[in-house]
């Protein structure tokens, strides 16, 4: 009886406050307050600040000036180009390395697999600051710097790795490629373990070689994983800040200034908050655009 009346009353009183509502809001309460203060408010504020010439007491509205200034600056385009080069090289190469290593780990027993997973994952645990400090020495420009010692071994003249405009970007890229791909490898292994054995058995009956199995079974079935790693990789790569800040400071001649560093410099070195916000929003738009394109290109068969 009671249930009947309740059902009937729904269309009449759509804003009835139920027990579920109360519980729901109690449970999400703290999280939503934090979310509102430290995510929603900053995003809204970033949008408004990007149209202002920020001053602590009374900012003035300047319309699209910050955006127009950004587009006029060569440094913005240069840092966008740098970020793009860095991303285009490191992300696909990292994915390829992670995929190959994951496939190579597959034939072993569970215990050996875990051992390799751990070994490849450890570098990811160390902080970016610590790793930058170490790599700074590996790239030491004197003949006894580690990389220069390797070069000497092959009778190649030593390089001024981080300070020369020819090699600075290359150095950051090598560092990214030689640092851990731990999490990508582990994610790929999970995907590989999820492939049903019957696919391989069927392929075997047809006399498929190892490479054919990889090409026609593993590769397509790992596509969702690849897309996931590609998208997160590109998102992270476009926000990269630490290595450029710690190791090259964006130099030489701004050849390693990435968008992340440019925004940081504008905001916290030059105090141009409005300009920094405008650039951060442009960065968000670029990332959103790239993500959308990847979903489009990847087709409809990938679902999240």
């Amino acid at each position: 009886m009671a249930a009947k009346t309740a059902k009937k009353s729904i269309p009449k009183k759509p804003f009835r406050f139920t027990v579920d509502d109360l519980n729901g809001y109690l449970f999400i309460g703290v999280a939503i307050i934090v979310f509102a203060f430290f995510t929603i408010y900053p995003v809204v504020s970033a949008v408004t600040t990007s149209f202002e010439n920020y001053k602590p007491f009374g900012s003035e509205w300047v319309g699209f000036k910050n955006y127009l200034d950004t587009f006029k600056k060569d440094l913005f385009w240069k840092s966008l180009k740098n970020t793009a080069i860095y991303t285009v090289v490191t992300v696909p190469c990292s994915l390829f390395i992670a995929f190959v290593v994951a496939v190579m780990i597959m034939p072993f027993k569970k215990k050996t697999q875990s051992l390799f997973k751990s070994m490849y994952y450890i570098p990811a645990v160390a902080s970016g600051v610590a790793m930058s400090v170490v790599w700074l020495w590996i790239y030491d420009s004197s003949p006894s710097g580690l990389f220069n010692q390797v070069l000497t071994l092959f009778h190649i003249p030593t390089q001024n790795w981080l300070a020369s405009s020819k090699t600075a970007m290359l150095s950051l890229i090598i560092m990214a490629l030689l640092s851990g791909h731990g999490s990508s490898i582990i994610i790929y292994i999970a995907a590989l373990l999820g492939i049903d054995n019957t696919y391989f058995e069927a392929a075997e009956i047809d006399g498929a070689t190892f490479m054919q199995k990889v090409r026609y079974i593993v590769f397509p079935l790992c596509k969702p994983t690849t897309l996931f790693l590609l998208i997160t990789g590109i998102i992270n790569s476009f926000q990269v800040f630490m290595n450029a800040y710690m190791m090259t400071g964006g130099g030489p001649d701004n050849n390693t200034t990435m968008i992340g560093l440019l925004i940081f410099n504008n905001a916290f070195k030059n105090g141009k908050y409005g300009l920094a916000c405008a650039q951060a929003i442009l960065l968000a738009v670029v990332i959103a655009g790239l993500t959308a394109i990847q979903f489009k290109v990847a087709g409809d068969d990938v679902e999240y």
């Binding site: 139920t18 509502d21 519980n23 729901g24 109690l26 449970f27 999400i28 703290v30 999280a31 939503i32 934090v34 979310f35 995510t39 929603i40 408010y41 900053p42 995003v43 970033a46 597959m106 034939p107 072993f108 751990s118 070994m119 490849y120 994952y121 450890i122 570098p123 645990v125 902080s127 970016g128 600051v129 610590a130 790793m131 170490v134 790599w135 700074l136 020495w137 004197s142 006894s144 030689l178 640092s179 791909h181 731990g182 582990i186 994610i187 999970a190 590989l192 990889v214 994983t225 926000q239 800040f241 992340g260 905001a267 916290f268 908050y273 916000c277 650039q279 951060a280 929003i281 959103a288």
Partner: protein, 288 residues
């Protein structure tokens, strides 16, 4: 164990073993390359506290001492405090995330309240926004408006419930059968009771993963603590290490010692809780 991918030489155990051995050797070689910077860091942290004449250093130090660690801790009166600060901030962030993010995740997955889908959608969108967008307004908020520079609150609050952790726990709780909760409701249990005595005991792994990831993430974060601390006494270890680096750029061993001090606690944590670390990677990434 071999998956069907590697079934080629199963009929010839000898060839099969040799092939696996070769693959293992290649993997080992790559692992050594990846691990080398860490080994280099560890080894040189025990090197002498000297301005090494740059032509004279080898791959590993010739004499081993603890002088460089001493140099790092003597550099500032607050070196130990940096470790302490990092620990306090990371621990507080973990506790509030585990409590509040998991509660929110539970509500988003199992309580049918108004506005649920909309709010969750907002949280999903927020995860895609690059941190550069929020950093400047957050900085203005904390430094200019709250006047909270150099306080633990400023270090902890922005990360105290992250969208990612809400998302992670929601995904996990969704896999718990709703019938379990319904039957407890029929028995007259309140939502708090259900959460405490049914959901949480079932979710130890995901909560551990969340705690570990949050701890490591907070410990290693540099950007935000760097913005909101200006007194050495309130630095975290990462900010301290950066300051040390810019002051002593020419001293190899003390810099490696500093890097070790910031990284070794995480290595210890990793070796103690390896299983959760490795599980944590896939829990967030592979759906279902």
């Amino acid at each position: 164990m071999a998956s069907g991918l590697y079934s080629q030489h199963l009929d010839r155990p000898y060839v099969y073993k040799i092939r696996n051995l070769l693959i293992g050797l290649v993997l080992l070689f790559c692992a050594i390359v990846v691990l080398f910077p860490l080994v280099y860091m560890l080894a040189w942290s025990f090197g002498p506290n000297l301005e090494t004449a740059s032509s004279s250093y080898h791959i590993f130090p010739t004499t081993w001492t603890l002088d460089s660690y001493k140099a790092f801790f003597d550099f500032s009166d607050y070196s130990w405090k940096w470790l302490f600060n990092s620990f306090v901030v990371a621990l507080a962030t973990v506790v509030s995330n585990v409590v509040f993010a998991s509660m929110a995740g539970y509500a988003f997955s199992k309580i049918n309240f108004k506005g649920r889908n909309f709010l969750f959608f907002m949280i999903l969108v927020a995860m895609m926004i690059p941190y550069q967008v929020t950093q400047v307004p957050l900085y203005i908020l904390f430094v200019n408006k709250f006047k909270m520079t150099n306080s633990y609150l400023a270090l902890i609050l922005p990360g105290c419930v992250t969208s990612y952790n809400i998302f992670l726990s929601k995904q996990f709780f969704s896999s718990i059968p709703t019938a379990l909760i319904e039957s407890a409701k029929v028995e007259g249990a309140s939502q708090i009771r259900i959460f405490n005595s049914i959901i949480l005991p079932l979710s130890k792994t995901v909560l551990a993963v969340m705690a570990i990831n949050t701890f490591v993430g907070t410990w290693n974060t540099f950007f935000w603590p760097f913005l909101v601390t200006s007194q050495e006494a309130m630095y975290t270890i990462q900010v301290g290490l950066k300051t040390f680096k810019f002051a002593n750029g020419t001293l190899l061993s003390p810099m490696m010692a500093g890097a070790c001090v910031s990284a070794i606690p995480m290595f210890i944590l990793f070796f103690a809780l390896q299983k959760y670390f490795l599980e944590g990677v896939t829990i967030g990434a592979v759906k279902g």
